[in-house]
Structures are given as C-alpha cells and as structure tokens.
Amino acid sequence: MEPVRYVDLLNQRYKQLGFPEYKWTVNEDAPLTPLIKPLDECRVSMLTSGGVSHCSLEPWDAFARNDFRLDTVDPMATAQDFEVNDSYYDTTDANVDLNCVFPIDRLRELDEQGVIGSVAPRLWSGFMGRIYKRTEVREVQAPALAAELHDDDVDLFLLVPA
C-alpha cells in the first residue's frame, strides 16, 4: 500500500464539512542537535500524543481541541496500566497492547538489556487531539517540556504522534 496522503484526504474532508481551508504548518528547515553519546550511554525519554492516560487519572477527552494537558508517565508502569481515548485514529490495537503506539514495556526491556543507558525518570503523554494554537506550542508549551527534559538529563527524546 502506498503511503496514505493524509493532507489531501483531510483537505477534502474539511471541504465536505464546510470548514475553511486548513492552513498546514510548513517548516522550511529544522534544528538538529548531534547525538554525541553512544546509545548504550544515553538516557531516553518518550512522548505520546495518542490520548494515553494512566488508569489512575482522568481519561483524555477523545475529541480534545487545544488541550495542553501534559501527563508525566512513570516508566515503571506497564502497558496494562493505561487506557487510550482518541477519536482521531483507530485505538483498537492500542487498547489491546499499548506498545503498538507507546512501547513502554519495550523501552524498559532495552534498558535491562543494556541497549540504552537508562530510561528517564519521566515519560510523557500530551499534545493530544487537534491543537490549533501553534504559537502557544512553539513559544510556551514545547520550550517548557524541553526544560523538563533538560532537568531529567535526557539525551534522546522519542516522539510518537500515533
């Protein structure tokens, strides 16, 4: 199967629904920080934006818009400790096995096997649903998360949109 053309499909869908033309974020360049440590010395953290919540917390609003809630995730929690609520993708498999979308058990195993140096003390779940406030993300929310990662001495950050 060829890669899905989500931009075209969503543009068509929005038009059918009578929405104004969507202005996609288009970045002409990207920052890049070289990884200077070998992987087996790196502290790794991970973010999911797939509506993943620990069962002790309120579930995510599956239809969330501009929700800047950001949960910390205990890396010792296991996949069975979570539920997934997100109306923007098929969560059936993720609710059967969270590792499909947020491989928390696999990451811990790579730590135990010495493939990575360590798992960071905090993983993350946030930026879920549709977020239209780009300036808020770019200038406030993302820098705040970057500061938290810095506090945790994270070397490598894995982002998984779902």
């Binding site: 931009v7 499909l9 990207a30 070289p34 990884l35 923007y88 993720a94 549709r130 949109p161």
Partner: protein, 80 residues
C-alpha cells in the same frame, strides 16, 4: 527522533529526524502482541538517531503492513 505514520504530514512539519513506518495511525510499532516486532522498530528508531545528521531527514522503513488498512485510515479522518 519522531516515529511517523504520516509521510506527507512529516514532510510538511520537518522534525529534526524522522523514521517513517508505512503502518496505520495507531500502529507505528506494529500489531498488538508482537513484542519482537515492536522492539525492532523501537531499536531502529533509537539507533538511527546517531546516524541521521541532516536536519529534517526522513528514513523510510521498508516493512509493509500485511493488509490494506483503509478502514483505519477512515477512522483517522473523523472529525470530532
């Protein structure tokens, strides 16, 4: 490092480094219950972080989802 299931979306946003997996949204690390497969994709993503040094580069994993996943695509197009 971003693990992506939307190639066109990733090209627009241009994260520093991305691994594109041509799987349905909701399955970037593969099907449920496939620990070995999930571990492999996770390991590939982590290992690529040290070798991808051109900003905005996307590495495409060649693995194919075993079936058409149009039903899952439809689910990802729903509007709340």
């Amino acid at each position: 490092m971003l693990v992506s299931t939307g190639l066109d979306l990733t090209r627009l946003v241009k994260p520093p480094r991305s691994l594109f997996v041509n799987f349905p949204m909701g399955n970037p690390f593969g099907p449920p219950g496939s620990a070995d497969y999930q571990r492999r994709i996770l390991t590939v993503a982590l290992e690529l972080t040290s070798t991808m040094n051109t900003p905005g580069d996307i590495t495409e994993l060649r693995d194919a989802w075993p079936a058409d996943f149009q039903d899952k695509v439809e689910a990802s197009l729903l509007m709340g």
